[in-house]
Amino acid sequence: MDIKELYQEIILDHGKNPRNKNIFKDFNKDAKGHNPLCGDKVHIFLKLNNEMKLENISFEGEGCAISMASASIMTEIIKGKEFNVAKKIQEDFLNMIKEGSKLSLNSLSDSENTTMMSLSGVKRFPMRVKCATLAWHTFIEAVEGNKKIVNTEN
């Protein structure tokens, strides 16, 4: 497999120019994620309204291109969606990365699909799966968790 299948243009672009990489003022949920083996760190902030819609989401963090691009892509795709929908997208994403299955949701637009698919190459690099999934686990933790730091080793 060519290394460029992992480092696709979309990923490099999100890695270099991450979207929603900031802290906004009125977030009401947040969680931190840490990958102790590589040192990737991510902090997810979100505003979840009474109707369980993700009004806003952002992240801060440092790490490799894969982890930062994945966080950026996630925030771009789930921003403005209902939490239940976002959770399904997360599950779909994890299946793609871990099991190599195709994205099954039809609620995503074509361009959202393409963006998510750009990370599918990670499946072939087992040591990098945790980089790609860190932000997505941390997002769920922010909504459902009890403020523990998400640790990819536990």
Binding site: L12, K16, G39, E62, C64, A65, I66, M127
Partner: protein, 405 residues
């Protein structure tokens, strides 16, 4: 020295990695093993195996002899005064834990000071942290400068009447800085402070002579010396081993066990509880023979040549920052590439068959000091060549190309 011949002694290089010739630049993490070491383990299990030091049957005698012969080889290799000063552990980490735990228990009390450096691997910090917690001791860190080395004056100025031990690396696993161990030992001797040396990177790449170095404790990682995993060595001066309490309790380390009391034998038995990694220790005898066969002076000279070539070639790439610039440097080149995370570097290099390590290399304090979270590290062994460096250099260029920087 014919590096082709050397490389041919290591079966791993017959394999392709991602369809490419393996360029192994991760020896500071763990070195590859010559066929003689691999075969020795197989032969031991096939023809000589039994548990050691317990039974009286013939195999037990043969196995015990092979194991103890390795102790003699180690004693000679590191020039210890006596074979009792050589203790087998499961790794260098356990060797340091053994000292921290037993010496710490007996000699370190509330308010006492443990002096280490900012260069230390976590294995030479965390065990002391446990003593800090258990005893209320203080850990002082001798600062490293921007060249990635610790000046002896930094150590000197931290020594007080409360300093109970100085624990330092022999060769930094990140910057490659070689510490002036002998000078530090002389300094410590004036104040009667024992010195522990973390020799994980020192032992495979430098001449190590315990009587010349004069340190009290020296921890060795055998799997970094072309030897099997599961074996470490603690060298300790006999005067300490005589007075330190046992580390772990169990079979093999007792003298007499009664319901109301237990007595213990002398070193090394006192410190080697339970069944040891017998085959691996015996396998390690072949590592010593291999190193002695090539000659440590030849190893040092060869690695110096490759290191200098590597530094020179990699420096030509303006996007690369080499971590540290110590005057006295061992076979390690840690680096970062502008705009590319070390893990991405390692993945891209791996596609070309180049194995390096990326991360904090168990040195978070040092990385923080250097203003980075992680680095990529190319580390050398006896089998590396200038051609390996050329492949590395071209792979680094490929990183630049992919990330367009």
């Amino acid at each position: 020295m014919d590096t082709k011949v050397i490389k041919s002694k290591f079966p791993i290089f017959q394999n392709k990695i991602n369809g490419k010739q393996l360029i192994y630049l991760d020896s500071a993490n763990s070195s590859q093993k010559p066929k003689t070491v691999i075969d020795r383990i197989s032969k031991f299990y096939s023809k000589e195996f039994s548990n050691i030091g317990r039974s009286v049957h013939s195999l037990a005698v043969i196995a015990t002899n092979r194991f103890e012969e390795t102790r003699d080889l180690v004693k000679k290799f590191i020039n210890a005064k006596s074979r009792e000063e050589v203790i087998f552990t499961k790794n260098a980490t356990e060797a340091i834990n053994l000292v921290a735990s037993t010496y710490g228990e007996k000699f370190i009390n509330k308010g006492d000071e443990i002096l280490i450096t900012e260069l230390e691997h976590h294995a030479n910090y965390v065990p002391w942290h446990f003593i800090r917690q258990r005893k209320g001791a203080i850990i002082k860190f001798a600062e490293c400068n921007d060249k990635g080395e610790v000046d002896i004056d930094e150590i000197k100025k931290l020594i007080t009447n409360k300093t109970k031990i100085i624990a330092i690396t022999h060769l930094s696993n990140v910057t490659g800085a070689i510490m002036p161990v002998k000078k530090i030992v002389d300094l410590a001797n004036e104040k009667k402070i024992p010195v522990l040396v973390d020799g994980c990177q020192g032992a495979p790449h430098l001449e190590i002579d315990m009587q010349k170095l004069g340190c009290d404790f020296y921890a060795i990682s055998c799997h970094k010396m072309y030897g099997p995993t599961g074996v470490g060595i603690l060298y300790a001066k006999k005067k300490w081993l005589d007075i330190l309490p046992p580390y772990q309790g169990g079979g093999g380390m007792i003298e007499e066990v009664k319901k109301d009391n237990i007595t213990f034998p002398g070193s090394p038995t006192k410190f080697e509880a339970g069944t040891l990694q017998t085959a691996e220790v015996v396998g390690f005898s072949e590592s010593i023979k291999f190193i002695e066969g090539v000659g440590i002076k030849n190893i040092m000279q060869h690695e110096r040549e490759i290191l200098e070539y590597g530094l020179e070639e990699i420096r030509k790439n303006n996007s690369v920052r080499i971590i540290g610039d110590p005057k006295n440097r061992g076979s390690i080149i840690s680096f970062t590439i502008k705009g590319i995370h070390p893990h991405d570097i390692a993945t891209i290099l791996d596609e070309d068959g180049v194995a390096i390590r990326a991360g904090h290399h168990c040195c978070q304090i040092l990385h923080k000091k250097m203003g980075i979270a992680a680095s990529a590290r190319a580390s050398l062994g006896i089998y590396n060549t200038k051609e390996d460096i050329d492949v590395l250099k071209n792979s680094i260029k490929k990183c630049n190309k992919i990330f367009n920087n």
